[in-house]
Amino acid sequence: MELPENLNKDSNGYESAEKIILRWDSTASEDARERMIFETDRQEADLYLQAVDEIQRSLSNVSISTSSNAGKNANAVDDQSKVNTTIQIAMARLEDEFRNILITHSSALETDSLFDPSSSSISTPSHHELEEDDTLSNDDSSHHDLLQLQLQHCESSDSSTYRSTSSIREVDLMPSEAICDLQAIAMRMISSGYLRECIQVYGSVRKSAIDSSFRKLGIEKLSIGDVQRLEWEALESKIRRWIRAAKVCVRILFASEKKLCEQIFECVGTDIDDACFMETVKGPAIQLFNFAEAISISRRSPEKLFKILDLHDALMDLLPDIEAVFDSKSSDSIRVQAAEILSRLAEAARGILSEFESAVLREPSRVPVPGGTIHPLTRYVMNYISLISDYKQTLIELIISKPSTGSRYSGDQTTPDMEFAELEGKTPLALHLIWIIVVLQFNLDGKSKHYRDASLAHLFIMNNVHYIVQKVKGSPELREMIGDDYLRKLTGKFRQAATSYQRATWVSVLYCLRDEGLHVSGSFSSGVSKSALRERFKTFNAMFEEVHRTQATWLIPDTQLREELRISISEKLIPAYRSFLGRFRSHIESGRHPENYIKYSVEDLETAVLDFFEGYPVSQHLRKRSQ
């Protein structure tokens, strides 16, 4: 027998080690199956590990001796075989122990204390909802209210559980004792060549844990088809939830898993802990990003812009951390996917903006807004671009090309053109915003032609362009981008519309109060044609009544503008009437039934003008009021 010396010396150590290993062979005894070494007590565990070490030592000794004997010694081969069997039994056992320790300490992440629910409701515009105002006066106050609510929400959740997910923060997923045990087992498994088994076990248990965490975070498994089918409103809340969850996943969950791998496989090199980490995390990471990807390829429509920008910004923010956590070669695909999604989201944002511009141009509703008031399209568009100006920071980076406008010389009647010369030095985003306003006006001009009454058409334009001006003035970012030059142009336009209105309505009314045609040539005393005069009064009364009746139902929502226009009307109407009355009333009063012709006093007219543009009909009893 040519057993090497050292084996002889250690044969007792080897034998007792072998006994320990065999005692815990779970394929051989019920008892061994039912109990777990590492749960029993520390001493048991330490003994077992020592036994494994002893066997491993023997293995290397036997290998040396076998190779040096060139396989001639059958006993040596037998011994090696026996040792191998013992190793296998030990490894199988250790695998079970490894799994058991992992399972015992693998639960879903405690998410409640982890993320600050208010981190999604910061004062940035990510939750400004696109709403149509009902009345002009509520415009600013509702915006203000929304902001108030959000600030309150921020403060109330700033409790003791506040923690930020704004940067990587690893947590301890397992108690350090467990990690030590796992480390010890892993070392033995790997040095015996059982690395693969080790990775398999580790991966599958931790994957389950991550799955549970995912469920807790509300991360769903939605197919792309599902996402396309869902209503956008439902998707909006999913996006919000995803953004919160993704931050936790990347910065806490995945980062902590990585740390755990590093800890457990500390002694055996980075390739192994990389492999374990990817084994665990690759699938879940892909699942996480699949949702964002599905959103990034969904059909483009204007209302999606702001949530898509939110998603873009969140992912942009996360990208450095994604790159830090997934820094190995084997995780290339994940980094690449994240970057791809980001770029698709940017494309989507650009596409939606274009789409929006076309939609505004094409908006086909023909039913004229009653009373010539502000068209819903105007409100929608101005709200929309106010929101865009809130997202200025992101969009300035994303929007890099000028809007595609009509050409001055194309003669294309269906698209307005925009002179770029005077808009030198403006960012592409600003050009887009101006273009949107140009296109909006173009559309409104078309809509105004559906009013049968030309005066109403002018009033409509005046109201709407004025509203545009007010909205621009009301937002500093918007105003800064649109620029005061263009603002002046817009102001000029609505003033022009006001003038056109006045001309359209009042020229003919005031024509009744002109001097010419009333005087009859010839004698001095009866220089006025009574019949003509009576006609004038009758016509004036009828016209004024008609205008009054009609235009009381017209609406100028803006109080100041309403006042201004009424004053402007009065300034022309009242003096004219007063002077007309002054000069000619005596002629009427000297005739029969003067009350048929002089129906109204100056005061009556002044009062009547106050009815204009209120938006509701007045009774025809002007006369009664004057009595």
């Binding site: 075989s81 399972i103 389950s208 197919s223 390829i297």
Partner: protein, 392 residues
């Protein structure tokens, strides 16, 4: 007939013909040529796939390299198709019949294909898992002479491997939720409850009720060859591309474990035999369909050639390790055979190691391409003002 009349009608006929000639100008000619070339290329490529010799194992039907070829051909066809579609003179054509119906259907199919791509990618993770288990077997049986320890190790891994390949498919076909809830409570469970966890393969990233077979079945909805006059314009290539897309997805799902594939072979291809370019595709569909029917009864994880080999070798090696365990002694001949099988298994693993990642990347490329074309088509539809919902 008076001479003048005759002359007039003769001249009339000439001028009409001249008009016709003018209408058949360069553009139209080019378009027809492109369409013909497209069909020709499709025909050639799929003929090549059909004739892949089975005896050259590298390119066997539904092997990794065969699938990569298939995807490569898909990308080529797709590129040609897009060229034809986008180079059309009249962009508003896509909003007129029959394209106004066919394009939205095509887009719907595209979305379904994207989900299939994702499911297949997920399925490839399972295949990778089998590969890893098989590598344990190989590593155990590599050592010579094979001892009891290695045999037991190999057997353990083989048991996991075979169960995984079977469980996966049963889980796939049973359409149950594939969530497995772990009990993280203290041990106290009796031995029979303790199912070795590596029977459970990779975690499933696919939505619960999603069915690969149903998805592909839905993709064949409304897929009918264009009739008569319809066949001359763009309706033809749209139909061709649709058939190709459906076939490729179907083949991928047949090869790679995906959730819920019951009834896969029952999916019929709406491609009449008269169409030249469709001959090979139909041939492939029949061939693969037959293989699927054979396997469906036994219940395997999928038709991927490497997986089939793995299963075959796994069974042989399982027998070997069993006899080792129970009979103790192993003849040299048996040991040599086992070693040879193990070497074959190693070769299969190597092919998987080399090919799976590139295959995954190719599927991703296919994904991107489908998305791109879909986006461009949607943009084109938007331009014409047909597809977007009203602003207000």
């Amino acid at each position: 007939m008076p001479a003048t009349d005759y002359q007039a009608s003769f001249l009339g006929r000439i001028s009409i013909r001249r008009n016709q000639v003018i209408a058949m100008d360069g553009n139209h000619e080019q378009e027809l040529q492109d369409l013909e070339l497209f069909s020709k290329h499709v025909s050639e490529r799929f003929a090549e796939l059909l004739s892949s010799p089975d005896d050259i194992p590298f390119d066997a039907l539904l092997s990794i390299s065969w699938l990569r070829k298939l995807l490569d051909f898909f990308l080529c066809c797709e590129a040609e198709f897009k060229g034809i579609l986008m180079m059309g003179n009249d962009p508003s054509q896509i909003s007129k019949p029959p394209l106004d119906r066919l394009i939205p259907e095509f887009l719907d199919r595209s979305v379904k294909a994207l989900d299939v791509c994702n499911a297949v990618t997920n399925g490839l993770e399972s295949v990778r898992h089998y590969q890893k288990l098989a590598e344990i077997v190989v590593s155990a049986l590599e050592q010579k002479p094979i001892g009891d320890g290695q045999s037991r190790r190999a057997k353990k891994a083989l048991t996991s491997l075979m169960s995984a390949m079977n469980v996966d498919d049963k889980e796939c076909s049973a359409a149950k939720a594939t969530e497995r809830s772990w009990s993280f409570s203290r041990r106290g469970v009796s031995s029979k409850d303790r199912v070795p966890e590596h029977f459970r393969s990779v975690s499933n990233q696919v939505a619960k009720n999603w069915s690969a077979a149903k998805q592909i079945q839905a993709m064949t909805n409304n897929l009918v060859p264009p009739r008569g006059a319809e066949g001359s314009g763009l309706a033809s290539p749209v139909y061709t591309m649709s058939v190709i897309m459906v076939f490729v997805m179907w083949a991928l799902v047949a090869a790679i474990p995906c959730q819920e594939r019951n009834g896969l072979s029952a999916i019929h291809f709406p491609a009449p035999k008269q169409l030249n370019w469709a001959q090979s595709i139909i041939g492939l569909h029949e061939k693969i369909g037959e293989e699927w029917k054979k396997k469906e009864k036994k219940g395997t994880a999928g038709l991927l050639d490497e997986m089939q080999k793995m299963e075959k070798l796994g069974n042989i090696l399982m027998d070997f390790t069993d006899s080792f365990q129970f009979h103790g002694d192993i003849t040299d001949q048996k040991a040599e055979e086992a070693a040879a099988r193990a070497a074959e298994l190693a070769e299969t693993c190597r092919r998987m190691e080399e090919g799976l990642l590139p295959l995954q990347m190719q599927i991703r490329e296919v994904f991107h391409r489908i998305v791109k074309t879909r986006t461009e088509l949607l943009n084109a539809l938007d331009q014409v003002g047909k597809s977007s919902p009203p602003l207000l």
